[in-house]
Amino acid sequence: MRLTVDGQSFDIDADPEMPLLWALRDLMGKTGPKFGCGIAACGACTVHVDGQPVRSCSLPVGQVTGVVTTIESIGSDGKLHPVQQAWLEEQVAQCGYCQAGQIMSAVALLDEVADPTDADIDNAMGGNLCRCGTYPKIRAAIKRAAVLKTAGI
């Protein structure tokens, strides 16, 4: 089975029913996406397939036809993605375990809506659970990221 992940091509020998998450973590060494629930209920495993956010814990790897992007490749040229930069500036993370998924959902949101409202944020981020309760800072960071991204920073 051939997959393109973070701009790199991987040949893996996997049960097609294996969730993309475990193929990424155990077979491709991509530990950025996290395991949280296995039933698409917490969002910690969020990655992009052809730019769309998906819960990789519940997507069989055999069904993946597009290009996979994880938290590990959203920055470019040694620079953080504006969403990561905003997360850093707002000091969002506490334990940090859910944040890879939060950031991937936020990146997808800002690709869709340049200047999201609170309601847009609620809709896009409702599937990403955070047990540390960093939501107020996540909201602030998304708004900051929107500004950074629009300014081309």
Partner: protein, 759 residues
């Protein structure tokens, strides 16, 4: 003395009893008295020198600070590093921070101090003497541990002194090198400099010479006014790793030739398999073998596989029947046992005045009575339990997030039958802790499975379902409360009886089954018996209920239960006595100015007393826990989508605020943790098994439910308080009290979702 013999002595001392242990605990400032060897000495890089268990400096001026408490999101690695860096005169941007090895050198003494039956504000001779000794909790957690919101309090003196001692030694060495008197030298940014001549040397250049010197007998600490890092918000040292998906968690550990695994433990606690058919699971692709697991946590199977998914699938395919449980089968029967325990004579943990007499002649209309109950709760950390272990050539290495590395080392050594000095614990960051990783079950499972892999490392990851169903839960608890009001509506007498399974007894059974619990379990009444209220007749009684479902520390422990009980009941007293809830508390806590100021502050922030539009209301609560005084006001609104928590105001007196940014984040985090539980969480039982399994039936607050927060940090009290847990206890009662103010419905049983629908 070698590490091995220190380990043996400490273990033996631990088992002998409190008197012997107290001698070890009294030792605080070991870096100059050196009762323990410096654990960094054996593992230095070329050119690296160590000054004490907290500081290493390389010849290239790489400065490494050891922050030996577990980072589970609370920001402790940043604040502990700042304590050392402050005195060492270096910025956080030019240091490396490590957790360091498991070592008794990193003893947590503070975690013991509040184990006695005294309130935090009790500074009597007896209470202080007790703090210097130890209680049952202390006995258990006397080793290197992160918990009880103690890390900053415990580290505050010794870590600053570690930085200051190293700095003084570096200055002394630089004085020799430069031929200039030490008194004329200054330090800044990792250098020692002589302003007059412009001469300077880096710390690294004199580190080896400095580390060889005798530690100073007289350590001078900076005045608070001269702090550059402490008292100011710092950028967290772990933030970049956490926004880039770096492999920092236990679940990310990847080793050459590593196998993968999971566990399937008995869904009935302590029950053994009656029969099990492993044949189908064993034949599944990617499965290497299935092995029985027996620990003090229970019985089950470990699946060794080529990848995690194969292990998960095989675990599902195991067909096992489990023995009957030793505890009541379902929640209703468990609740009956708790209620029966309420009728037994409990331990009086507070007994002011003469409660029985005060109630004897009370007219009916002056009596307020209420029955309260809270459910079992799971921790549900974002990162499911996991650990990686390798047992090769008689040496066991364990990689995992944990809150007690010396405990992990000791119990894993016992489990595989080797000496502790043959075990290395590599503590990673944790994807949440909240008390769950005080337990060691995940490490024991990995250690036992590592015996079956011929020396190959194995990463053992639990499914969310396994994690949810095999926790050491926050215990369920019930309370029966009575108050007698005076003519002015103020309480003349309060009688609170509380019954709950004992967390101490349960924890001992798992960790040290040979030790019997001694004395009453303070955690049953913690947060109710030790609040800063003066009521002439005031009794709080705790009874242990015999239900053996495993229970343990859940963020704020007993205060998570009793904050709700006490503050909900106080709100009822205010309503019955026609007193404003804020005014009632201010009058009752008049003898404790720090408490009054907290309540005044939070009321002022929330504009308490100003009229709200129809469909909105506020509730308030106050809890003193872990040495910090915290008041919270919650505002709720009735919306077409359901009840919405609009805003939360928090005022907290932490004595000394070492990092206001991290403290604010922790207060909000802890309030959300408490609100999440109050809104909808409960662990229930049927057929002896936990009914919930994943986030679809045990959810937590989501971003669209999250209120706005406003936080004030006060520093009025003269002792430093904890931070990580103290925002949790007032959250549930403030919310329930707000719901009463909005709807007139008094909800005395959690979760609130049984009675109201949240947006």
């Amino acid at each position: 003395m070698t590490m091995a013999s220190v380990g043996k002595i400490a273990r033996r001392t631990f088992l002998i009893g409190a008197a012997a242990i107290a001698g070890g605990v009294a030792v605080g400032y070991y870096y100059y008295r050196k009762p323990y060897p410096n654990p960094l000495e054996g593992d230095l890089a070329a050119g690296e020198a160590t000054f004490n268990p907290y500081v290493k400096i390389g010849a290239d001026n790489t400065i490494t600070i050891v922050a030996p408490r577990a980072e589970m999101g609370q920001g402790i690695s940043t604040t502990l590093a700042a304590m050392v860096a402050e005195e060492l005169d270096v910025g956080l941007d030019r240091i490396k921070v490590e957790h360091g090895p498991a070592s008794y050198a990193y003893y947590n003494a503070t975690i013991l101090e509040e184990g006695g039956p005294f309130a935090f504000f009790d500074e009597s001779m007896t209470a202080q003497a007790m703090r210097a000794g130890m209680g049952v909790v202390g006995k258990l957690l006397a080793f290197q541990a992160t918990g009880g919101s103690t890390s900053t309090r415990d580290g505050f003196d010794e870590m600053r002194q570690a930085g200051a001692a190293a700095r003084q030694m570096l200055v002394a060495a630089a004085a020799q090198r430069l031929g200039i008197a030490a008194a004329e030298l200054e330090t800044a940014d990792g250098r020692v400099l002589h302003k007059a001549s412009g001469k300077s040397v880096t710390y690294g250049a004199v580190a080896a010479a400095a580390a060889a010197m005798a530690p100073p007998a007289d350590i001078r600490l900076k005045d608070k006014a001269d702090w550059k890092l402490l008292g100011k918000p710092q950028k967290r040292i772990d933030m970049l790793a956490k926004v880039t998906g770096a492999p920092i968690f236990g679940i990310d550990v990847t080793l050459p030739d590593m196998l993968y695994g999971t566990v399937k433990m008995s869904p009935r606690f302590w029950a053994k398999p009656v029969k099990a058919d492993l044949s189908k699971a064993e034949k599944m692709p990617g499965v290497i073998r299935i092995v029985p697991i027996e620990t003090n946590y229970g019985h089950g199977f470990g699946i060794v596989a080529e990848n995690t998914w194969a292990a998960f699938k095989a675990a599902e395919a195991i067909d096992a029947e489990w023995a009957d449980p030793e505890y009541p089968l379902d929640s209703a029967a468990i609740s009956d046992v708790l209620k029966q325990a309420l009728g037994t004579k409990g331990s009086e943990m507070r007994d002011d005045g003469d409660v029985d007499t005060a109630f004897a002649d009370a007219p009916r209309e002056r009596i307020v009575e209420a029955d309260y109950a809270v459910p079992y709760l799971a921790h549900a950390t974002m990162e499911p339990m996991n650990a990686t272990a390798r047992l090769k050539d008689g040496i066991l290495d364990i990689w995992c997030g944990n809150q007690a590395p010396t405990l992990v080392r000791q119990l894993c050594a016992n489990a595989v039958g080797i000496e502790q000095d043959k075990v290395s614990v590599h503590t990673t960051f944790m994807g949440g802790g909240f008390g769950r990783r005080v337990e060691v079950d995940y490490a024991l499972c990995a250690a036992l499975m590592a015996q079956e892999t011929a020396g190959r490392p194995i990463k053992v990851v639990w499914t969310r379902e396994e994690d949810m169903r095999h926790d050491a839960y926050r215990p369920a608890s019930v309370g029966k409360f009575q108050a007698r009001l005076g003519d002015d509506g103020m309480p003349v007498a309060i009688d609170m009886a509380i019954a709950s399974p004992s967390m101490i007894a349960s924890t001992l059974r798992r960790l040290f089954p040979s030790i019997s619990p001694l004395g009453p379990d303070k955690s049953i009444v913690d947060g109710a018996h030790n609040q800063p209220y003066t009521i002439p007749n005031y009794r709080v009684t705790g009874a242990a209920a015999p239900v053996s479902i495993p229970v343990g520390s859940w963020r704020s422990v007993g205060s998570s239960i009793n904050g709700f009980f006490h503050e909900g009941f106080l709100d009822e007293i205010a309503v019955a006595g026609k007193t404003d809830p804020v005014e009632l508390r201010k009058k009752l806590m008049a003898a404790y100015p720090a408490a009054v100021k907290v309540v005044e502050k939070v009321a002022e922030m929330a504009k308490w007393g100003e009229a709200l539009p129809a469909g909105k209301a506020k509730g308030m609560a106050f809890t003193l826990s872990f040495g910090s005084w915290v008041g919270e006001v919650v505002q709720v609104a009735d919306t077409p989508a359901g009840l919405l928590i609009e805003k939360v105001w928090i005022a907290a007196d932490v004595g000394t605020a070492l990092d206001p940014g991290i403290i604010e984040a922790q207060l909000i985090s802890a309030a959300i943790y408490g609100l999440s539980a109050a809104m909808g969480q409960e662990i229930t039982f049927a057929d002896g098994m936990v009914e919930q399994s994943n986030f679809h039936d045990y959810d937590a607050m989501r971003i669209f439910q999250c209120p706005a927060f406003e936080v004030a940090i006060l520093e009025n009290f003269h002792k430093m308080g904890g931070v990580g847990e103290v925002g949790t206890p007032p959250a549930a009662p403030a919310l329930a009290n707000a719901i009463f103010a909005l709807t007139g419905k008094r909800i005395r049983t959690l979760p609130l979702s049984k009675e109201v629908a949240f947006a």
